[in-house]
Symmetry: C2
Subunit: 304 residues, 2 copies
């Protein structure tokens, strides 16, 4: 059988015009090249060169050289692509994330990641935690970044970081003057604007407060607009508060349990694609050493 290596040897010899140089290029001895060539000619049943000095091709040799050279180019290109895909230098990554991470953490990370891997395509969807889990579960996206959810069948959750909730109010609000973290009792009488993120808070006191409230917003933009307009105050994870406009402030809470846990959601039993794996590496690293992240996580605490 004619092998691809034989043809590669032949093309090199045809290019070089002699065996010695071709052998050097192939990191083989001339004798190895000579034998390979001989067996190729035997397989073909006809000579490829006119003379022993391999500087003139036969008609057959010229045809075979053309076909083989093209085939080798295709082959090498395909192999390169396979390797690129396997190492995550090429491929598509579909991911879903909660808005806060998508807005504050991902932009810098993704830009850096794409710069380093020109062959990679990324599709990012930002939606609430519940939808992120759903999209991972049904295969719409490969990777999700969200808070913990009820342990659904076939999903895995790996924690990335914990993120304490803050009270967001107008700068002139009376609570903004408080020097110490706020207890739940401090919020009595305030109108709490409910939101999806804050649904992660398990404290009974908060649940009672928000149950009493009559206002609820889904989108962060409109939520903050309500606060800015004096319609009430709200609770948001710290990460969602790092880019507040100057007329709003984010105040720490005393309850250490008032926090969400953000992590990575994957489909169980599906080994992530190399692109995904590579991105996960960058993501966990960015969360372990937040200083290097585009927007520091802990650094947002300077208003405390």
């Amino acid at each position: 059988m004619i092998g691809i290596t034989s043809l590669r040897v032949f093309v090199h010899v045809a290019d070089c015009g002699n065996i010695r140089d071709a052998a050097a290029r192939l990191y083989r001895t001339p004798s190895a090249v000579s034998m390979t060539l001989k067996s190729l000619e035997q397989d073909l049943g006809a000579p490829l060169f006119e003379s022993d000095r391999k500087n003139r091709l036969t008609a057959l040799g010229a045809e075979v050289r053309g076909i083989a050279a093209e085939m080798l180019r295709e082959h090498d290109r395909a192999l390169e692509r396979v390797e690129a895909v396997a190492t995550g230098r090429q491929g598509r990554l579909q991911l879903a994330s909660v808005p806060s991470v998508a807005a504050e953490l991902l932009p810098g990370l993704l830009a850096e990641f794409l710069d380093a891997r020109p062959g990679v395509t990324i599709e990012l969807v930002d939606t609430d935690s519940r939808s992120v889990h759903a999209m991972v579960a049904d295969g719409t996206v490969e990777l999700g970044i969200a808070g913990v959810a009820a342990p659904a069948a076939g999903l895995s959750f790996a924690p990335l970081f914990r993120d304490p909730f803050r009270l967001v109010c107008r700068r002139g609000h009376k609570l903004a003057a408080r020097a110490h973290p706020l207890g739940w009792t401090d919020l009595a009488g305030e109108r709490i604007i409910g939101n999806n993120a804050a649904a992660a808070i398990v404290a009974e006191e908060y649940r009672a407060l928000v149950a009493a409230s009559t206002l609820r917003a889904r989108n962060v933009i409109s939520l903050l607009a309500l606060v800015r307009a004096g319609a009430g105050v709200t609770l948001l994870p710290q990460l969602a508060t790092v880019s507040l406009t100057p007329d709003l402030v984010a105040l720490p809470l005393a309850d250490p349990a008032a926090e969400r846990e953000v992590g990575v959601v994957l489909r169980e039993g599906r080994s992530p694609s190399p692109v995904c794996r590579a991105f996960l590496g960058g993501l966990t690293e960015a969360c372990r050493a937040p200083i290097s992240a585009a927007r520091p996580l802990d650094g947002a605490g300077e208003r405390q």
Copy 2:
């Protein structure tokens, strides 16, 4: 390094959904397939299948399968082409021939040859012997069929058959009544129409006769038209006379030296392409056993 055989094994397993069937297709034992697959995954640095039962691909596996399958198709196609070219089932044959052979011998031979080799292209030029040699010498055609010429540098001549000259005249001509082969003296007083083919006759007597003649034609059509019109008689190789119209006859000559030798002209030091070699095989066979040829050579002698 990732080899083409590893990828072929992988694609087969992916197609079959299990190792056992793939091994059967590949004429290998399951253990060999398993090991090949393992080493491929090691080379890639990531798994290609989700589980040991090879019925679900990873994201990487799916991508690699696509790339590899295409690459293998290209590879196999190229290899097939190489083999077809090497065995003469595919390729182009440019040949030049003297008109008599081109008209009487080649048509049937070429038709048969092309029927047996659908991938072959043939380009046929018919011209006089001298031009045939020239076209072979300058590489315009690979193969020539012509009479012997002055031994030119770089050309080889291999005899195919000898072809005696005949006198061509009108059926009512006085020479047509002669029961025996004609001697040169019998032609005294006849107007001999000169032609390219007859230039191969070396007999002094003929040379004198034709030198005395004032008429000469290059093309066989016009040559025969002249004879038919009673402008004179001419000498043609027997092969050129097998399809004469009924108003003309071809009479044998007594001089055994009045013949041409037709053979194959090739460029020396160029090994012929496989198509050419295959055609040469058919050609020499047809000339050795002329009964099988479309138009028999010796059978034309029935008028003698």
